[in-house]
């Protein structure tokens, strides 16, 4: 499908269906128009294609061209009418909700969880022989959660049979019913020990729609997630989507299989990382959930080593429906530490609750915006903590250790996320993509992720990563070109040495080609204007207590690219240290906001 010139793509979200039009002009693929309309999965329409048609009708209005005839898309193109291809992603109806099970929580169950998350699912619970629950509790849990699908793993090939069949018996005893409809059986994917297949079939085939695929953990030292992920995608289309209103019709319209939205975002992230040979962290902070993605090399010392992709979803961290849960998990003092003015706790709590019960409201006052952005920082931080703990190497493997390993103190379950070697953070979701100033998005991401050393920052302009992820399935070059030119807004870079010292002590000296030299004390931030077109040499000489990437006190020189915000120098230590005293902290927050030009009025 390399001769495509006009492509329509939609993302059917829980509340909004977003359509984009991509066109090839003068040999280049570019975003031509976008439209959106409410998703129509629920009554009265109960047909997802209605929302798709409405969102594309908005594109018709904008472009004054015709894409719809008799409530259907015109595919293939007839001259100036219609499009060459139509593709779609979906998270309507709450996305794909799964339970996973494995014999050992830290081994096969963890691999199963990675497979499900990588396929774009929300993992509702993880069952394992050692999850410290009694059998009846596991049975009740399956019955109460009513997942869309269960992934059962367990046992390496040739390993335990009894334990994995015991888990199958738990599923059988629960006799689970899927969320949608009484008339079909719950899909269960078995991806465990090959020797247990017959017993698993004997146990589950009668009560569930069982599919058997290759073991996702054939040996302790290896993971083979692709067969399980592919099976999840197929069953998602065959069972879950097919039972959602209108999807059968939608599936006949698309030129490539419909993908779960987060699965498509993950695909485009991986593509970007591999094409540019960079390590990437991405986040999509929505109203109900926050998805984090990372692509890191297995071996940081070896630039040629393979990339490992990880995705996690924090199902109850978000900026509207889940805003109260962010506060519950982060606690009020952690939210308050980012609020740059005095605010009584009782008032803050009631305000957050009122946002929870009326999630579509927007901040009208500057103070309201500041509070929401404070909550965003904590949502980003919490989701990333969860991501780092999941994005780890294989647990339970036997490794040969050398003397140097003994001195490096690197633990087996250490996160693959290496902040010092991270090249790019991409932010997506309303609070980041639509912040009134790009400077606000940059600072929220810095405070939430606490990047170390040299890191580039970017945001997704209009949330089209899902569309581009599925486009990559049919035309990779088109997806990359639109991603680079229209989707990604480069904000600039941040330089933040790691280390801890009291406020006021020296932190770093920075020489910036053509801009001068700057000395920063601990607790200071500085913004150096640097446009997207500028690539300049920067030399950082950290104080002996700080490390900018080459070791404590060692000079680092790199080329830095600018963006919509510029180059941010951050001398607030790592982990970020904020003053304990409330008034002093507010004063510092105001200083940083003023220096970085975050809000319209000087504070």
């Amino acid at each position: 499908m390399n001769n495509l010139e006009v492509i329509l793509a939609t993302d059917c979200g829980s509340t909004t269906t977003k359509a984009i039009l991509i066109e090839k002009k003068d040999g280049h693929y570019r975003l031509a128009a976008r439209g959106e309309a409410p998703t129509t999965v629920e009554a009265p329409a109960e047909d997802v294609t209605r929302g798709v048609i409405n969102s594309i009708a908005e594109i018709e209005d904008i472009t004054k061209r015709k894409f719809i005839r008799d409530d259907k898309l015109i595919i293939p193109r007839e001259g100036d009418i219609g499009a060459d291809a139509y593709i779609s992603t979906s998270s309507a109806g709450g996305g794909l909700q799964m339970m996973v099970a494995g014999v050992v929580k830290e081994m096969t169950a963890e691999s199963a969880q990675r497979a499900a998350l990588g396929a774009g699912a929300i993992v509702m619970d993880v069952l394992a022989t050692n999850d410290r629950r009694r059998t009846f509790q596991r049975i009740e849990r399956i019955r109460n959660l009513r997942p869309d699908m269960i992934l059962l793993a367990g046992g390496t090939d040739g390993g335990t049979i009894r334990h994995v069949v015991a888990l199958a018996e738990v599923i059988e005893a629960a006799d689970p019913k899927p969320r949608f409809g009484m008339g079909y059986e719950l899909p269960v994917i078995y991806s465990g020990n090959v020797d247990a297949r017959q017993s698993i079939k004997d146990t589950l085939e009668e009560k569930t729609a069982l599919q058997v695929v290759d073991n996702l953990r054939p040996t302790l030292e290896s993971e083979n997630l692709k067969p399980a992920r592919d099976a999840i995608h197929n069953l998602f289309l065959e069972h879950v989507m097919a039972h959602a209103p209108g999807y059968k019709k939608l599936m006949t319209w698309t030129s490539a299989p419909i993908m779960p939205t987060p699965g498509a975002v993950g695909d485009i992230m991986q593509l970007i990382a591999r094409r540019n040979n960079i390590q990437v962290v991405g986040t999509d902070i929505g109203g109900a959930t926050t998805d984090d993605f990372s692509v890191f090399r297995v071996d940081q010392e070896d630039k040629e080593s393979e990339f490992v992709f990880n995705r996690t979803v924090s199902a109850n961290l978000g900026m509207s429906y889940s805003i109260s849960n962010v506060v519950t998990e982060a606690t009020i003092p952690n939210i308050m530490r980012w609020v740059p003015f005095d605010l009584e706790e009782k008032i803050l709590r009631n305000r957050i609750r009122n946002k929870m019960i009326r999630p579509t409201t927007i901040p009208q006052s500057l103070e309201g915006l500041m509070v929401e952005q404070a909550i965003c920082r904590e949502a980003l931080r919490l989701a990333f903590v969860q991501h780092r703990s999941m994005a780890i190497g294989l647990s339970g493997t036997q490794k040969q250790s050398s003397i140097s390993d003994a001195f490096s103190q690197k633990k087996e379950d250490e996160s693959l996320v290496d902040m010092m070697n991270l090249d790019l953070i991409v932010g997506s979701g309303g609070v980041l993509s639509h912040a009134p100033r790009r400077n606000q998005s940059a600072l929220m991401m810095i405070d939430g992720f606490a990047p170390e050393g040299f890191t580039n920052l970017a945001v997704d302009s209009i949330f089209m990563m899902p569309h581009l992820g599925v486009l990559a399935q049919i035309n990779e070059d088109a997806a990359i070109e639109v991603f680079e030119k229209d989707c990604l807004i480069r904000l600039g870079a941040v330089i933040a040495p790691i280390g801890v010292a009291p406020y006021g002590r020296p932190c770093m000296k920075v020489k910036i080609e053509g801009k001068g030299s700057f000395e920063l004390k601990v607790g200071e931030m500085k913004l150096i204007p640097l446009s997207t077109e500028e690539n300049i040499n920067v030399t950082v000489i950290p104080d002996r207590k700080f490390n900018a990437g080459a070791g404590r006190g060692k000079t680092v020189a790199k080329t830095v690219s600018g963006g919509a915000v510029g180059l941010i120098l951050d001398a607030r230590c790592r982990p970020i240290m904020l003053p304990e005293d409330r008034q002093e902290r507010i004063q510092y927050l105001q200083n940083w906001n003023n220096e970085l030009n975050i809000y319209p009025t000087q504070m």
């Binding site: 059998t135 738990v170 009782k346 305000r351 409201t361």
Partner: protein
């Protein structure tokens, strides 16, 4: 654009309400179309499969899974009482015996020779579904559901906790600005739905639970009190199953906020009438709001579904976000172009004249239409 749809809460003095009652699995429908039913009447019933438990027989007996049949005294399909002997092994010439008793009454569902486990299924759990509102059965689906129809008043709250209940309405305050205090709850309020004004406190709710009040409806409630009431910090607003001794419905929001005049007036006029209420709230896609339904004879009823929440010049609205949170007024202008807010965001706005005479420009996303009939 002359008007726009906007989210809002329905306050319909006279309407037709339909409520579908659905069984979780197929069962028996006990009423017919056209039957008059009362809220407390059971209209459908069924039995859910009983609780399951798995007993690891082999580890208890110290045998191999494929030997399990040798020791089982009951087989798959047998019914047992709690405490019945289901498996036994003997050792040392029959001198020592290990006995395994049924942990629950029910059926032996499966005996696995792979894992050596026995699956037991408890007795079926009866489920009854009540009519919930006084009315008439307007439709029925065999073995699945019935719909009850009634005419009367329908009021949506913004947030609630606790499930379905019914009782007589008792307005305990004289004006919407008055707080509902513990002193205002009396013995007369037993089994009633008590209506307060601007705020209900945890102390008042505790007194109401002691008194036997079925439900409380008030304008506002404090977040700190919600934590005390539930015993935990509510993360995601999906409620309705709480066992807290009564149902609570908040009509305006969190904090001290007078109940909207219209809501208060309607409830006051219905004082003494039987009402059905449900605190269930779900703030996700497919929003569910808590509700108060008061069946009564009515000449001209607007259909609940037809009551459009249209934003137009003159529409009554409520501001639902600071800096005007809780204020009521009428729309005076609906500019089409995007306006810049103090946050520097651009948004579609409207002009409003509040009931106190003050005028303001606010984002359309920050108002709620008060749909009335």
């Amino acid at each position: 654009m002359a008007y726009a749809y906007s989210p809002g809460l329905k306050i319909l003095e006279s309407t037709t309400v339909h409520r579908e009652r659905r069984l979780p699995i197929a069962g028996e429908v006990r009423v017919n179309i056209g039957d008059k039913v009362s809220a407390e009447e059971v209209v459908m019933n069924t039995h859910l499969p009983g609780k399951a438990d798995i007993i690891n027989i082999v580890s208890m007996l110290g045998c191999l899974p494929n030997e399990i049949e040798k020791y089982m005294l009951k087989k798959a399909g047998d019914f047992v009482e709690k405490g019945d002997l289901i498996a036994e092994s003997s050792s040392f010439f029959g001198l020592f015996k290990t006995r395994i008793h049924a942990p629950l009454a029910g059926a032996i569902e499966a005996v696995s020779q792979v894992t050596g486990q026995v699956t037991m299924r408890g007795a079926p759990v009866p489920v009854e579904v009540k009519a919930y509102i006084d009315g008439e059965v307007s439709s029925a689906e065999e073995k699945q559901s019935v719909t009850i129809q009634t005419t009367g008043t329908f009021i949506q709250g913004i947030f609630g906790v606790g499930g379905e209940t019914c009782g007589e309405l008792a307005v305990a305050v004289s004006k919407p600005e008055e707080k509902l205090t513990p002193e205002l709850i009396t013995e007369d309020h037993k089994d009633k739905i008590v209506v307060g004004g601007s705020l209900v406190t945890i102390e008042c709710i505790n007194k109401a639970v002691e008194t036997g009040v079925k439900a409380i409806v008030a304008g506002g409630f404090n977040d700190a009190d919600l934590n005390k009431l539930l015993g935990y910090d509510l993360g995601v607003a999906i409620t309705g199953h709480e066992k807290i001794g009564l149902t609570l419905i908040v009509t305006e929001g969190f904090g001290e906020i007078p109940m909207a005049d219209k809501t208060f007036e309607i409830l006051k006029n219905l004082n003494g009438k039987k009402a059905s209420v449900n605190g269930a709230t779900q703030i996700r896609a497919g929003v569910i709001r808590p509700e108060i339904i008061v069946p009564h004879e009515s000449a001209e009823a607007v259909d609940e579904e037809e009551a459009k929440l249209i934003l137009d010049i003159g529409t009554q609205i409520r501001a639902i976000r600071e800096p005007y949170f809780g204020m009521l007024g009428k729309v005076t202008e609906l500019p089409t172009e995007l306006n810049k807010l103090p946050t520097e965001s651009k948004a579609r706005v409207l002009k409003v004249k509040f009931n106190n005479g003050e005028e303001a420009v606010i984002p359309r996303a920050n108002v709620e239409v008060i749909a009335t009939s």
